[in-house]
Amino acid sequence: MASNAWRKTLLPAGTLIGLLLLWQACCMAFDIARYTLPAPWDIARRMAEDGPRLLDQTWSTLRLALKGIGLGIALGIGSAIVFHLIPGVRSALSPIIIITQNIPLIALGPLLIIWFGFGLLPKLILLALVCYFPIAWSMLAGLGQAEPHLREYLAMIGASRLEVLRRLELPASLPYLFSGLKITATYSITSAIVAEWLGASEGIGHYLVLKSKGYDTTSVFAAIVCIVTLSLAFYGLAVLLERLAIRWRPGRPAAAEGGKAS
């Protein structure tokens, strides 16, 4: 047990701290200019100085990402259920959906701004498009994965289609839904940054553009730290929700996760 805890937490944490120290040492030893590569200590100081503003901007990005991911989840779950119940709809719509997924955000973003202006709407559309796909497709896969012998049991006792969905397919799809959600959680932050970068008056993406145009590399790094923290927090939240929702297989979610990661 002790060696396990060491491997799981202390080792990666140690590596991270070691890297930061090495970075700091290099910056000091080779006297690297701050606009090329700021040292970790400089970044930390800048974050403390600019704290209230960074927090403000991060909060604004967080709200945007939450709205986008919420919309993506709702659409994703809804359409997965519709596609599952009516296979014809799935065949008809999936080419369109796959095409939308392959348009680069860089191209789509400006178009959405031309069509819908600089307000919240184009950003929400962009985010929802990004968040939708992993949710809908993993949920759809999960809905078809229910154990055949449970399906047979429900058929034999004469359960209705709706009961099969509610009692078997939806619970069985939850692990798949959550693996989609974990992907979406990190995507949503990156896309929120892209959306803000394309046209916004607030948010950490906007801050990032401002500072990089002014060659304020230290502040750019400060923004990166905020973005990474936000992404990790979203991922952590998804993992937490998964643990809360799927409690019927102690020990097994970890194994399933390992399988998916590889």
Partner: protein, 263 residues
């Protein structure tokens, strides 16, 4: 006779079923006729692959026979679902529901009001000595305990006929014997109409009132055997000379058919 309107009476008349696979016809059931009387324990005994599970799917209304009719309680139910309760070979408990919820949700499907279903599940789990695990997830139970829950779930559904499809096949020999005794005791208290499938001759002779011996596919009824042992039946009924004699008879029947089919 008033017997034909008994709610638990199952009648199969001339059931035929063929499957088409790769352009060839495979007859599975070749004119099966049988009855299960009200409160009777009837067993289908046959070699593996004699179409017993297909027969169950027909009775459950999941598939339709090519020929023949099925009725339960005097009403035609050919191709109609939701007329039977069912205990499959695998316990088939839902892993995300507690033991009690597994039972009560099946009862809700069968039309029992939600609160009453929960109360029934609670009460009966207590009665069969599983009250302690009512709130637990099924995976903490042993294979035998899972089958007890699965049997209880079938027993409590308010339907005329219980269909049990090789429910003990996956259990080890000791657990299996224990489960047979348990089922015998519970069934003799409740006396529901049961159609039971097995390929164990001893199991059939220990539990049933009547046995239909089936041939390998395409399945026909080779013989109908009245089991002469009294109820309530002793668990050590296998020690009686008649038991051994009947067992030999059935073995001979199956062996002869096997030879005739060139198996």
């Amino acid at each position: 006779m008033n017997d034909s309107v008994a709610p638990g009476k199952l009648v199969l008349a001339g059931i035929r079923k063929r499957y088409v696979r790769e352009g060839r016809l495979y007859p599975v059931l070749d004119g099966i006729s049988l009855t299960v009387g009200e409160g009777e324990f009837v067993t289908l005994l046959g070699p593996s692959g004699s179409g017993k599970s297909t027969l169950f799917r027909l009775i459950g209304g999941v598939e339709r026979p090519d020929e023949g009719r099925i009725s339960i309680g005097g009403k035609e139910t050919t191709g109609r679902r939701g007329q039977i309760s069912y205990m499959p070979q695998q316990a088939s408990l839902f892993p995300w529901l507690s033991v009690a919820a597994n039972i009560s949700s099946a009862l809700v499907t069968a039309g029992i009001e939600r609160r009453r279903a929960a109360a029934l599940a609670e009460e009966w789990l207590e009665r069969i000595g599983l009250g302690d695990v009512a709130g637990a997830y099924p995976h903490v139970l042993s294979g035998g305990m899972q089958q007890r829950v699965s049997f209880l779930r079938a027993l409590l559904m308010p339907r005329g006929v219980m269909c049990l499809d090789e429910p003990f096949a996956a259990l080890d020999a000791l657990t299996r014997a224990e489960m047979q005794t348990w089922l015998l005791r519970l069934w003799e208290e409740e006396r529901r109409s049961v159609l039971f499938v097995t390929h164990s001759i001893e199991e059939a002779l220990t539990l049933s009132d009547r046995i239909y011996v089936l041939s390998p596919a395409p399945a026909r009824v080779l013989r109908e055997i009245e089991v002469p042992f009294a109820r309530p039946r002793r668990a050590d009924v296998w020690t009686e000379p008649d038991f051994v004699e009947l067992k030999q008879e059935v073995l001979g029947l199956l062996a002869r058919r096997g030879a005739a089919h060139g198996v």
